[in-house]
């Protein structure tokens, strides 16, 4: 986003304190507005949905008296704006309320489930980028020839198969028949709670504790679901890379560079790829963000206790505290990622100011 139509005077000016503060203030303000919008819409959806949160708690046998008493205790009889205001004031104090389903503070629940999804999404995106970008470049450079077709078909295959199919097949082959990886779940049960929980990301916590056995076990559990999700990431990233690279390679400066005598590798990896970084960052951020929202189906197949399953389960039981808390957390990360990609964008590409 630009302040005015004119070009500001270079990176130094952008980093100058006054305009940085101004920009920072605007960013924070828009952040706040976005979060508020998020909260409001989620809240309204929760109240509009025909799923009854009271029933989730009292169950189907409850007599009418128990039902009405619970409903009043949950504050559902107050007018909508009162409920929202109460909720908002609690959130500002850092209290996201208790989950109806787990009877625990939503914050505790999220601190438990979010790192699991973070771990999965990060490893998956890493795989996707490390394999997808070179694959996309390869495809673009060899457009129309067999490497191109191969990359496209491989990507397409993973992209069109349902994730639970891929996951279950993966489990069947790599766990069931070949014994290369571990089964569903984040850890073998014997290793649960062995390393002290610092970040909630088991891979990190086990390294921090110096426990390589737990690290190895966690790795063997995460590799399959991360690969399944990473396959999607890879498909998307490789396609977009190919598409952007094709655009770049058709540009005149490429021909110029070749004519000047630069090696092909330098032309492709140095120049073309460099210019592709800009939109590619957006793509990777989008891909990561979509993995973060939690691939519910993967989490179910691999018994991975992540935030996707948490929010979905909460939504279907109208456990709105949990849904709101989860949405806010995921939303903040999304927004943060977008912000980051915007900033990187501006730093990397002088044209986009």
């Amino acid at each position: 986003m630009s302040l005015t139509g004119s070009v500001s005077g270079g990176r130094r000016a952008w980093l100058s304190s006054r305009s940085a503060a101004y920009k920072g203030g605007r960013v924070l303000l828009s952040l706040a507005f976005t979060l508020l919008g998020l909260l409001l819409i989620t809240f309204l959806i929760g109240r509009v949905m025909p799923i009854d949160p009271v029933l989730s708690v009292v169950g189907e046998r409850a007599s009418n008296e128990v039902y009405m008493a619970t409903r009043a205790a949950m504050g559902l009889d107050d007018p909508l704006y009162v409920q929202f205001f109460n909720y908002l004031s609690e959130v500002l104090r850092g209290d996201f309320g208790n989950s109806l389903l787990t009877s625990r503070p939503v914050i505790d629940d999220i601190a438990r489930v979010f790192p699991a999804t973070l771990e999965l999404a990060t490893v998956a995106t890493l795989l996707g980028v490390l394999l997808g970008v070179p694959a996309g470049v390869l495809a673009a450079v060899n457009q129309g020839r067999w490497p191109d077709h191969l990359v496209r078909l491989v990507g397409l295959f993973g992209y069109s198969m349902p994730v639970f199919w891929l996951g279950l097949m993966g489990l069947l082959i790599f766990y069931g028949k070949l014994d290369w990886v571990a089964g569903p779940g984040r850890l073998d049960i014997f290793f649960e709670d062995v390393v002290p929980q610092v970040t909630g990301v088991i891979l990190v916590d086990s390294l921090l504790a110096g426990d390589l056995e737990v690290f190895g076990n966690a790795l063997s559990h995460i590799i399959l679901p991360a690969s399944v999700l990473g396959y999607y990431s890879l498909a998307y990233i490789s396609r977009m890379t190919r598409s952007f690279m094709l655009e770049q390679l058709a540009q005149e400066y490429i021909t110029t560079a070749r004519v000047k005598g630069l090696s092909e590798a330098r032309v492709i990896w140095g120049h073309a790829l460099g210019n592709v970084m800009v939109p590619l960052i957006t793509v990777v951020a989008l891909s990561y963000a979509s993995l973060l929202e939690g691939s519910v189906l993967t989490e179910i197949v691999f018994a991975w206790p992540g935030i996707g399953f948490y929010i979905t389960n909460a939504l279907l039981s109208a456990d709105m505290n949990a849904v709101l808390g989860g949405t806010v957390v995921v939303g903040m990360v999304f927004i943060g990622l977008n912000l980051l990609s915007d900033v990187l964008y501006r730093l990397v590409d002088p044209r986009a100011r």
Binding site: S56, N64, R104
Partner: protein, 532 residues
């Protein structure tokens, strides 16, 4: 590919290779690992828990005054934390003598005070399962008198009327009768809630196991109580993991990473029973599958239409195919093995008869109904099969698959057309189902007897209600059984309930796992009887 990429790939492969040898394949001898679906647990306070998985957990962490012997469930109730009891002449006063020398997990000794506290708080907290006790006339304002600990060893409870002794004692075996450690509960009390907030996520009982950790929708871990009064359990630790997919459970079982898989589909059961090292145990449970028709919606209140529906269900066909091994045909509202069970099955698939009945009723082809049902795979399969046969008979069916909570709202408000669902007993006495299927003292909308299925389907039955109320007070067991049979026969003919199946639980076990009692129709699962 860049050098970095290949280096990374190589290290990943190495890591995988390293870890696969490190993974343990079999479970230790003193640990029981179970895979099942535990996402229905909302609270583990015995005064509130009412769903299956919660019942399973509480069965093993708490004890009750009266129990069912897992080695002989059909024998009926036996002494639990109450060593013996006496009933007064007028049948209203029960004097129970507490067993001596029992300690809670906290170390506090068990006394009648704890028993009185546990039962009183159920009435006072007024959560969903409280009706199991309040149906005896215990009310907030009289619990002090009706549930009393006269000394450390004696508990006296007084009901409002004379009920069958077996009825009262059977109710005490339910989850809601679990005995809670009063001192620990009150230590964690907040705002006069009798420890409710704390007990929602913690346990304080005398049972075979203590809860070590519980991660909702993930797992719970139980540790053996070495001083358990029935003897130390063979399994020192029990891990229960939440795995909702049958295929995942099956793979884990095949690899030996779990000992018990409780939610295998019929096809997966067929596959694992042929495998080395795995066996399948079958247990007839108390859950009943039924289709009910809302009597508020014409023409569903025409008896001929209702009967037509009963003839348009492929009971045998479904149990032989889609439900193979996991449901058995059953057409009465009391589960088999209950006092008063009825084995008669008057209905079978007869499309011609269904058509004829509909024609007689004048609705040969103009009925269109919506069937609400839950969206788990088996219920959906049954619903779709029903849709097939009903369509052949001339009734158009629209299916609305919903998650549990959605469908219930409409049902409880009496706004549905038809509901396909399951009902499980709350306590091992026939009144549990009779009360809901055959008892409706007030059919008006205002009465809101949402806990009763007869009310939800607007079935007005003053006579049958009286018969049901009489049956629960009958002291002679043989007579009582006959009364329930008579009610069920009439129910089969006249009610808007199409009772179809009773559940059979098929459990996949590694060979060597013995003694897992899943509880049959009367109880929940027992872990402390397991040996490997």
């Amino acid at each position: 590919m860049t050098k970095f990429t290949s280096a990374f790939a190589a290290s990943m492969l190495a890591a995988v290779a390293m870890t696969s040898t490190a993974a343990l394949a079999a479970t230790p001898k003193d640990t029981l690992v179970i895979a099942t679906s535990i996402d229905d647990i909302v609270s583990i306070d015995p005064a509130e828990a009412f769903e299956f998985s919660g019942g399973d957990l509480l069965q093993n962490t708490y004890d009750r005054l009266v129990e069912l012997d897992p080695k002989n469930l059909s024998a009926g109730y036996v002494p639990g934390l109450a060593a013996s009891w006496k009933v007064s002449e007028d049948g209203k006063t029960f004097t129970l003598t507490m067993r001596e020398g029992i300690k809670f997990h906290s170390g506090n000794p068990f006394t009648a005070e704890d028993a009185a506290f546990s039962l009183r708080r159920v009435v006072l907290l007024e959560k969903t399962p409280s009706f199991i006790l309040t149906q005896f006339g215990f009310k907030k304002d009289n619990v002090e008198q009706t549930i009393k600990a006269t000394d450390a060893k004696t508990l006296v409870i007084t009901t409002d009327k004379k009920y069958a002794e077996s009825f009262v004692l059977n109710c005490l075996t339910a989850t809601v009768g679990s005995i809670v450690d009063k001192k620990v509960a009150m230590q964690n009390e907040k705002n006069g809630d009798f420890g409710y907030e704390w007990l929602k996520t913690n346990t304080a009982g005398t049972g075979a196991y203590a809860l070590k950790s519980w991660k909702p929708n993930e797992s719970y871990v139980l540790e053996a109580n070495a001083d358990y009064w029935r003897g130390k359990p063979a399994m020192k630790r029990v891990f229960v993991r939440h795995i909702s997919e049958s295929a995942s459970q099956r793979l884990l079982l095949e690899k030996g990473d779990i000992d018990v898989a409780r939610n295998l589909s019929p096809e997966d059961v067929a596959a694992v029973s042929a495998m080395d090292g795995i066996k399948v145990a079958e247990d007839l449970r108390g859950r009943i599958m039924y289709l009910s028709l809302n009597q508020k919606k014409a023409p569903l209140n025409d008896p001929k239409v209702v009967e037509a529906v009963k003839w348009a269900v492929d009971y045998e066909g479904m149990t032989k195919t889609i439900l193979k091994g996991q449901y058995t045909p059953h057409q009465a509202f009391l589960p088999l093995t209950y006092l008063g069970e009825l084995k008669d099955r008057p209905y079978k698939l007869d499309i011609a008869k269904a058509k004829a009945l509909l024609a007689e009723a004048g609705h040969a082809s103009d009925i269109a109904i919506k069937i609400n049902h839950r969206n788990d795979p088996q219920t959906m399969a049954i619903a779709t099969a029903l849709q097939g046969t009903l369509t052949q008979a001339g009734i158009k069916v629209e299916l609305t698959a919903m998650t549990g909570k959605q469908s219930l709202g409409e049902y409880r408000a009496r706004e549905h057309d038809a509901y396909l669902g399951a009902w499980g007993p709350d306590y091992p006495d026939p009144h549990t189902n009779a009360d809901t299927f055959a008892h409706n003292p007030n059919n008006s909308d205002e009465a809101k007897l949402t806990g009763k299925l007869a009310w939800r389907n607007a079935w007005d039955i003053p006579e049958m209600t009286k018969a049901t109320a009489a049956a629960v007070e009958e002291a002679d067991t043989a007579k009582r059984a006959e009364m329930y049979r008579a009610i069920q026969r009439e129910h089969q003919q006249k009610s808007p309930f199409v009772v179809m199946f009773q559940k059979i639980e098929q459990t996949g076990l590694r060979k060597g796992v013995e003694g897992l009692v899943t509880g049959s129709a009367v109880s929940s699962v027992h872990y402390w009887t397991v040996t490997k």
